[in-house]
């Protein structure tokens, strides 16, 4: 194994790039702006330039680098093609091949290419949520667990499934899209999910889902006093805060939310039987009360032989992606 590797996590606003030792030590990370103009055509060249700059600063060449992993917010298929990434302006193309060719050309132009006798740099691509799960498995909350699931509770609900130590990419790159497990009948859920369906797990389990639960609870119980009624733009954080202060409706809402999370993850458990769930995203700031709440209801809904699951908080924050991207090329 060569001593260094890079991970590039492409988001809609910034690209995070990590320069790693292949033992997993992060030497340096930086962010560059995501240039989405003209179909995002500058994004990959910008990443190449940033990597070459970091290589120059460290005085290394491509012979010192095992590979470069890249994560993007779209469905990345097992063959390295991406189905498109709306936030980046990308349409469908062969991400791995394109990035690999571009990087090789730029390294050569910079005089940092590999010796002719060795092959090209390894380049691997993955969906960003799946890469984050792999990162948490490698150096975060899932360390030491070859069978784990990362769940990101934010504006939406993201997921990444790791089985046998590898990302479950799925045949069209949609593995781990646990936010779209159908948990309610379409006719029972008036609002449409971002995916176009009705009744997705995400519609209840996301930060917005929690707020919707709170609104519905307050409407359905006009007689119950609650500090939540006085909040103009209610957020998940405020529901947790009110519950912590003993507000009875907030406690009931929080309990309903935990029940939905526990039941939804029990479905995931029946399919892949993970050893550990790593919970990240904005809602995870609620901390141990969230972890304990999910665990309580998972215990009720999960298949008995698969109940011995650990629930932990994510540890790498928004660096999980670069760790995972780096790990992609070390397999």
């Amino acid at each position: 194994m060569r001593p260094y590797a890079f991970g590039a996590d492409v988001g809609g606003t910034t690209v995070k790039i990590g320069f790693f030792r292949t033992d997993g030590t992060l030497i340096k990370d930086l962010e560059i702006k995501t240039n989405t103009v003209q179909g995002g055509r500058a994004i990959l060249p910008d990443i190449c330039d940033a990597i070459i700059k970091m290589m120059r600063e460290a005085d290394i060449c491509a012979d010192d680098v095992e590979g470069v992993g890249i994560g993007a917010p779209g469905a990345v298929r097992p063959d390295g093609t991406i189905a498109g990434a709306v936030n980046l302006g990308w349409e469908s193309f062969d991400l791995e091949e394109t990035f690999s060719a571009l990087l090789s050309g730029r390294l050569e132009a910079a005089g940092l290419q590999r010796a002719e006798t060795t092959g090209p740099l390894c380049v691997k691509a993955a969906n960003d949520a799946n890469a984050a799960a792999l990162g948490e498995m490698w150096k975060g909350g899932g360390a030491g667990c070859p069978d784990m699931v990362m769940v990101t509770l934010g504006t939406g609900v993201g997921g990444g499934v790791i089985a046998n130590g590898r990302i479950v990419t799925g045949s069209s790159g949609a593995g781990g899209e646990i936010g779209h497990i159908p948990i309610a009948e379409p006719e029972d859920e008036p609002e449409a999910c971002g995916c176009g369906k009705h009744g997705c797990f995400e519609q209840y389990a996301s930060a917005r889902g929690l707020v919707n639960l709170a609104r519905r609870y307050c409407s359905a119980h006009p007689d119950k006093e609650s500090i939540l009624r006085d909040v103009a733009d209610l957020t998940a954080k405020e529901v947790f805060a009110a519950a912590a202060e003993g507000d009875a409706p907030a406690i009931a809402i929080r309990e309903q939310y935990f029940s939905i999370l526990g039941r939804g993850l029990a479905s995931v458990t029946a399919v892949v039987n993970p050893q550990r769930y790593v919970i990240g995203g904005g809602v995870s700031k609620a901390g141990t009360v969230l972890i304990d709440g999910i665990a309580k209801y998972h215990e009720i809904y999960a298949f008995q032989p698969a109940r011995q699951v650990q629930f932990v908080l994510a540890e790498l924050g928004n660096l999980a992606g670069i760790y995972g991207c780096c790990r992609l090329v070390l397999e």
Copy 2:
């Protein structure tokens, strides 16, 4: 790779043993009675004897055999230990290690052992449903699909998930237990599942589940005439037959059953995004009407980017297990 391998699929009544070329050609298969007396202690020795007999008949020794895979009706963990198998009388033990040691000893006693310079035979164990899924991926309905799910619709609902060409065993050997996805609230389902929970997918999607749907439909619609009312011991087969003959309640019940199957499998799709579902078990005798019915509702409930799934019938019948057990040792 050595030219031959064996697969042994242990069931509560018989053990099926397959003698294979390592290219997947089944040379011979046989069944022996499962001797469950005294905690099933004779089962593994009986399998060893049968294998040695087949080796003698083929005039080969252990140097010609890549390995022996064994499947059993219990949770087999990634380390090769089994949590127990009620149908066999087995309690928890190290199945892989025990079987490997026993087989080595018997081969030596028979003068068929490997030359001293080569290592011992490879022995691998798996849950029987997971092994069947691997068998279908290798030489059956899932051939060529490294990401597939086998679903067995019988007395219960069994499953096996293959991702990246490997069984998703899960941390406690309960991967692919899709029959225990919670799909109804416990309070809405009076009858308990075999696992002790209420509201499991299996309670609706199994052959018995279909019969229960039929009973409930007939009770809820006392005014509707149906030939199902005259059947004393209703079976899934009779519901499908009545629907095929145009019996309106039977058609409605069948449609409800397809909807439940489509929705349940859409949950699995959101987690692992398979390319193909392979449907086996007694209910699969309904054939293309079942396949088309599941596909119709899966399309409605599944996450859009993961909808391009193929539904096919299982092809290996009750030989799937020995194929999969053999495949275990060829990875």
